[in-house]
Symmetry: D3
Subunit: 220 residues, 6 copies
Amino acid sequence: MKTLVIAPHPDDEVLGVGGTLLRRKAEGHSLGWLIVTSIDAANGWTDQQISRRKQEVQKISQLFSFTEVFELGIPTTQLDIVPMKELVGAIAAVFASFQPNEVFVPHWGDVHSDHQAVFRAVASSSKWFRSPSVNRILAYEIPSETDFGLNPNESFVPNVFIDISPYLSKKIEAMQIYESEHEKHPFPRSEDSIHALATVRGATSGFQFAEAFQLLRERM
Amino acid sequence: MKTLVIAPHPDDEVLGVGGTLLRRKAEGHSLGWLIVTSIDAANGWTDQQISRRKQEVQKISQLFSFTEVFELGIPTTQLDIVPMKELVGAIAAVFASFQPNEVFVPHWGDVHSDHQAVFRAVASSSKWFRSPSVNRILAYEIPSETDFGLNPNESFVPNVFIDISPYLSKKIEAMQIYESEHEKHPFPRSEDSIHALATVRGATSGFQFAEAFQLLRERM
Amino acid sequence: MKTLVIAPHPDDEVLGVGGTLLRRKAEGHSLGWLIVTSIDAANGWTDQQISRRKQEVQKISQLFSFTEVFELGIPTTQLDIVPMKELVGAIAAVFASFQPNEVFVPHWGDVHSDHQAVFRAVASSSKWFRSPSVNRILAYEIPSETDFGLNPNESFVPNVFIDISPYLSKKIEAMQIYESEHEKHPFPRSEDSIHALATVRGATSGFQFAEAFQLLRERM
Amino acid sequence: MKTLVIAPHPDDEVLGVGGTLLRRKAEGHSLGWLIVTSIDAANGWTDQQISRRKQEVQKISQLFSFTEVFELGIPTTQLDIVPMKELVGAIAAVFASFQPNEVFVPHWGDVHSDHQAVFRAVASSSKWFRSPSVNRILAYEIPSETDFGLNPNESFVPNVFIDISPYLSKKIEAMQIYESEHEKHPFPRSEDSIHALATVRGATSGFQFAEAFQLLRERM
Amino acid sequence: MKTLVIAPHPDDEVLGVGGTLLRRKAEGHSLGWLIVTSIDAANGWTDQQISRRKQEVQKISQLFSFTEVFELGIPTTQLDIVPMKELVGAIAAVFASFQPNEVFVPHWGDVHSDHQAVFRAVASSSKWFRSPSVNRILAYEIPSETDFGLNPNESFVPNVFIDISPYLSKKIEAMQIYESEHEKHPFPRSEDSIHALATVRGATSGFQFAEAFQLLRERM
Amino acid sequence: MKTLVIAPHPDDEVLGVGGTLLRRKAEGHSLGWLIVTSIDAANGWTDQQISRRKQEVQKISQLFSFTEVFELGIPTTQLDIVPMKELVGAIAAVFASFQPNEVFVPHWGDVHSDHQAVFRAVASSSKWFRSPSVNRILAYEIPSETDFGLNPNESFVPNVFIDISPYLSKKIEAMQIYESEHEKHPFPRSEDSIHALATVRGATSGFQFAEAFQLLRERM
């Protein structure tokens, strides 16, 4: 079995699916990581930022033992102006290459326009006759994205809860690789917040710690 | 693995889940059938009707090789006036006895008030700390119930498609056991309609024939 | 200003609104508590249970300094068979007596049929020309009720976040008065779960700890 | 063509569909009026109230020239405890007798439990193989019912606007027959409010005055 | 009466509205066809593809006896980067020229971004004071578009069913004009799938074969 | 306290929030006005139009005594092609400068793509750790925008009603400053329509005249 996580930006894969990825690995799945955006000098990022990002991606790749890492290299925060056709084609090409069975995608109600664009592109690129390997698609939740939307009709309504009790500490460790992202609670991506969210999702589902997802489509 | 189908009335299990039950059987699952309502003389049913119903239940039990059949015996078309507490308790007792992992339930938007009551009762009776065996709940669709609702906010939105290609003919054969129910198309439970619905669900999911469900909760 | 919390069962007021009630008190509001159901010998409760419930209500009343406590005394878990007319009349009478401005009610998507009935009754009893004092109605969330619904269209979508940072420890202390209700995590009403939920709601809203609500109607 | 309006209580037909009924009459439709509830001495109504109600129904019948008036005679405000089976049967019998093509029903989100029960019963009683004459079902809106719901997921979303410019004054005249119901604005059923709602619905649809409906099902 | 079908790409008009168009023709309506996108050499299409497309459009025009065919000529799969202002203006111009009364549009939940853009543009271009002829707008369903969306809040909820029993065979014949599009079931646009969908929609509405639509706005 | 209204185009602030702004002023709030778009010669507007627009903005500023007026100067009807990143940054800069507590925004379901873009940008720019002053966000309704949407899932569902009885006449007077916008009823922005909408919203909430809003987020 092969699991692919689609991350608009590095760190989405840890925040949304980190525990589940570690569990899938332990269950024997091959893991793939599709990073949609990148940062570059042309868009005003410093060499130091670019190089740190590269190191973060490398460390995360090792920690999760990703079989393959795909980088589309589209400038970050600009997916809303990239033609949908290109994004669909690029994601479909990754599906064709990696042949994932289970795919994790950002939620359509996320505040970031990059997340929204990725979600929309996956609907097109995952049609069964185009990408027949894909038989299970789930949306993950990202603190300060999925819970920050203003449109009540686009809220995250989880229907799948995955026990990550043995993996939470390593998920939090993974988040610490992203130096720039960690601040103290109530900053939504703090260690406390991640721990609390896993606890709440666990209380709903009967596990010590859980990650929650919204199943979008399964074919079996 | 154990699969339980909750049928407000006999024939719901065939119409909604017939192909999947046959597949689950082939995959080695134990199957349970919970029939919520019954017909009796006190409510104006003839001896002939009651006896035919008994035979139908028996034939269906054999055809699907149900490990256990549970009958709550509540008078049909009267679930809306049965105290919810009783219905919840009765269903929870079946969960405790059969210990199902996968449960199929009617959809909340079904027109029949019996279906609606059963759906509501399952939400209570399936809480993880009350019925820990239950880790996957799906709503099925019933022609002339699920597609006949007038409230657009309660429509069936399938997210799970199960390949029943090898089992459709036996599903239709099972429906023929319910003599009173089969009429010609466009009657919604005709052989043509059942065949067409399986074809449409298959086209959406890449199978010759499929049954569609709405996943309500999964914990793994 | 007067704040009324409507609790189908004692403990809902703490779980859903405990921190906010303490804050409202500190802000100078008068607090009212409407307990809709009760337990009695006729429905099979022991004298010990009844007497303990009485003591719990008394202790909670003192802890929150409720100006008034209203008890409708309808047998618990039976609101679905109480005529809606009676429930509407009884709640409207409390509105007329206490004259609340802000009212907290259970969410329509709660699993318990008692919660659903109370929600529906409030819609009728709070019409402005019937209960003109009521100018703000909010639905609260209850672990293992609001997050346990199976109907995705009835999910809780919070739009009001109230900072309860100074009050969380006293809220948890209040929950400990309900001896029968506290178990360890992942039991959804454990101290850990309550703490985690307040942390998650805080991360979304920029407070150390928060309670979340869904505003249903405000007139100003 | 035959048009039937289903009114839980007398005056719903005027408030919700009054202008359209007058227009349908002018267009040559036969009009039917199904009054679901009644008031009687057993439920505490005075002879005077009962007799006035009778006169109101008579005057309204004349004003709209209803071909047939059906009264189910179920005590008002008690439809939530009437078995759904009875209500479905009674409404289906009226469909069988009057053979309506177009049916107007209350909205599911109305605050009054009588309205909700009627809506639910119509879904069952209007199935095409049970009531083949019915080929168009629309929900109407009632001031202080349809706009007073607290559940945002049950709001009225009109998709049909009918020009009632020539009929608004007669609709308001009809409302004056119901003496007990008319008070001054902002009372929601005042002449001013009715006039304003027709103006607003007209502005949305390009008519001087309009009534708005939510089409639920049409088969042609 | 004039009916206009808006097709993002040729074949949408047949798949979504083919039977109804033939029926409208038989009922005496004038039919218009608005094709939004085109293929050209600049975007990498071969002369052969372009010429075949031209022939297909011609054959379809004849088969349906369209009074007028409008082609906006925007490159296919690129509507998401066309300024909305342009698209709105172009569609409004067609409304002004053809003066349609009934308009069929793609559904907002279709997977293809071209379909989504067309839907959004119609909302603007169909305002009553801008395009007063338009008094009825319906969304149609397209296999592998309308049923392939991943966002459950954007699902197609049909409320209008049109009997196309006498026209299904000619609709299927029309589809065969589009050589490139027909493959065998379970390919979603196969003859079997089209036949099955018409059967399912018929079972819901009491006709041998039907097309289903979602009424968006009607003013009469 | 500081209140900011975000208007995609001048006149949205009057139509949607005019009465409330006057009331906020009377209550002692500072008022800010953020005008997102402008008209210029490069996009084909005449000098006369540009100069009249300038005068209208000035007169409105005086009438409402805005403390600050911000103009982003993005060409009107083109927000759908402006990179979301720019729009988010520009709005966040205004939040940083004016430090509003209460913010009024257009509704996501408005027909105009400019309104939709502004709504989406606010979700990003109003995150609490980015714009901590913002603690209350409400969507307003605009005749012929908010009520003209074709997607029923995006309808305006008001939950906050603000009494503007003393301010309606001045709101209408303010609208008359926008000469180009006023026509007679049923034109949706006529004096009659504005008066009628305020009456309808008042009837729902118990005031002579009211404005209605949908609360999106409040943190207190």
